[in-house]
Amino acid sequence: MNLLQFLSGRLVKGILVLFAIAVLNFFLIRAAPGDPAQVLAGEAGAADAQLLEQLRERFGLNEPITTQLWIYIKGYMSFDLGFSYRQQQPVLTLVLDRLPATLLLTGAAFVISLALGVMMGALAARRAGRWSDSLITGLSLVFYATPLFWIALMSQIVFALKFGLVPNVGYETIGANYTGLARALDIGHHLILPAMTLGLFFTALYARMMRASMLEVAGADFVKTARAKGVSQARVWRRHVARNAILPVVTLAGLQAGQLVGGAVLTETVFAWPGIGRLMFDALVQRDYSVLLGVFFMSSAMVVGFNIITDLVYRIADPRIEAAS
């Protein structure tokens, strides 16, 4: 199977998932208490009788349910995720405006947590049973149980409010009008705390996985062979064990991307980061269901896209996978 076939197969699968989510959204609107037109209008528009009538007309709410479904899906297929009456803008515009900030945040958190987690896990495995192993294992147990929104608030108190090391909230310094590199640095400065707190849980997760994976590979026959051949300890751990142990960790990390997007809702809420997570929180507070469902759809699309990229990178990185399929 060549790369193109593989890619188109994955794309078809991804589109099917998104189709299923559109159908799910359709039924969620009907599962809400009250009239679907009121759900679509959100709290802001629900009092407007004329608007409700328009919505009934537009979404065919007086037609049979199959027709309604067809109209709804057709909307999604033409990239119409609905309209926010609260913000007077199409949901797609709102979401696309906010998407880059979320991609930056989740991307940074992913890279940080994977790098830190793999390093910590590898170190712990290398020193299995010693105090540094206990420390790393203990720390990952702790971070694994820490509520994300709480650690975000606490680090906000310590690092931003008390010591002023990093900005408290926001994406960039408002009114500074930085451009070019200065702006990038400013955004980076704002990014540190949100990305670190979002990545903490995943760092713990990847460290645990990496440690287990390393110890498993360390017992394999080819490692014994390498030792018997007289390969140095450092080289055995680096080239033979770590290289093979990292593969399952990366696969699982790719599958975890969805959780990263979910965590972004909490992080962005705490740090007033202008991404789709914050948009979701605002929609929640304003009972703006069209935006809520739109963000849900878009974040799923993000995960689908991310999974395809991980698969692709993985396939290129490890030729055995191509041979196996």
């Binding site: 998932v17 909490l266 799923s300």
Partner: protein
């Protein structure tokens, strides 16, 4: 070696169990310790912790007793954690067992269904479910259950797949036992140990999920919850850190205790696996 002995050999697990028992005791004693509703303002707002005996952990922005909120919140967190995990098991176990035992097309279809739920960002789905069905106990439990079952289904499917080729199951087929009977009396009882371990670890994640939902304002408005308390202190972080600190620490401690105890349970129930890990 006995179950208890194996569990106690894991010191972390014993510590976890002790913390957990303390949390359960506080939850059970909540109405005796603080008979008044935790929602009622009972003192001056923003009282610092460890200064007034009546309010050991201080008061919040509205003068509500934080200690009272904590013990009442423990009831809610534990209950939602346990019940929503049961919901996840009720969805995951039958689906996984059916997929593993039936195989073929049924297996394929059910696994695609499971994969679909694993692809969706689970927290976003939980938010949408609770927001649309309105935040109340039932919708919260349902939402957490709906986003947590896929790992259960995969685990049970894997176990069933390996169990169904065992000789005693083949024997049951040969003597003409009905399929449901084989599943319930021969196969499922042997999957209980890993299910218990997974379930105990899932309670912690369910508590984290519930607290995150109520932090965002998606808690049952009639039930005091730790996540809500953390959120309520957000606006006064610097001058009244304790309002957000204590409830968050309670979540952390409870989840940590559950995870530790869960790992001990794993060691005790799957001794072969535990030894292999050392």
């Amino acid at each position: 070696m006995s179950f208890l002995k194996r569990f106690c050999r894991n010191r972390g697990a014993v510590l976890g169990l002790v913390i957990l028992l303390a949390v359960v005791a506080f939850a059970l004693l909540a109405p005796t310790l603080y008979p008044q509703s935790p929602w009622r303002p009972v003192g001056r707002p923003f009282l610092a912790p460890f200064t007034i005996e009546r309010f050991p952990l201080g008061t919040d922005t509205l003068g509500r007793n934080i200690a009272s909120g904590l013990v009442h919140g423990a009831r809610v967190s534990l209950m939602i954690g346990v019940v929503s995990t049961l919901v996840a098991l009720l969805i995951g176990v039958p689906l996984g067992a059916a997929a593993g035992y039936a195989g073929g097309f049924v297996d394929d279809a059910l696994m695609r269904f499971t994969e679909f739920f694993q692809t969706i960002p689970s927290f976003a789905l939980a938010i949408v479910l609770v927001a649309i069905l309105q935040p109340q106990l039932g919708s919260i439990v349902l939402a957490i259950g709906v986003v947590s079952w896929p790992p259960v289904a995969r685990l049970v499917r894997g176990e069933v797949l390996s169990l169904k080729t065992r000789e005693y199951v083949q024997a049951a087929v040969t003597i003409g036992q009905s399929t449901p009977r084989i599943i319930f009396s021969q196969v499922l009882p042997n999957t209980i140990a890993p299910i218990i371990v997974m379930g105990s670890l899932m309670i912690g994640s369910a508590i984290l999920l519930e607290s995150a939902l109520s932090f965002l304002g998606l808690g049952d408005p009639n039930l005091m919850s730790w996540g809500y308390m953390v959120g309520a202190g957000r606006t006064r972080l610097l001058d009244a850190w304790w309002i957000s600190f204590f409830p968050g620490f309670a979540i952390f401690l409870t989840v940590l205790a559950l995870n530790l105890a869960g790992e001990g349970l794993n060691d005790a129930l799957n001794p072969r696996l535990a030894r292999g890990r050392e």
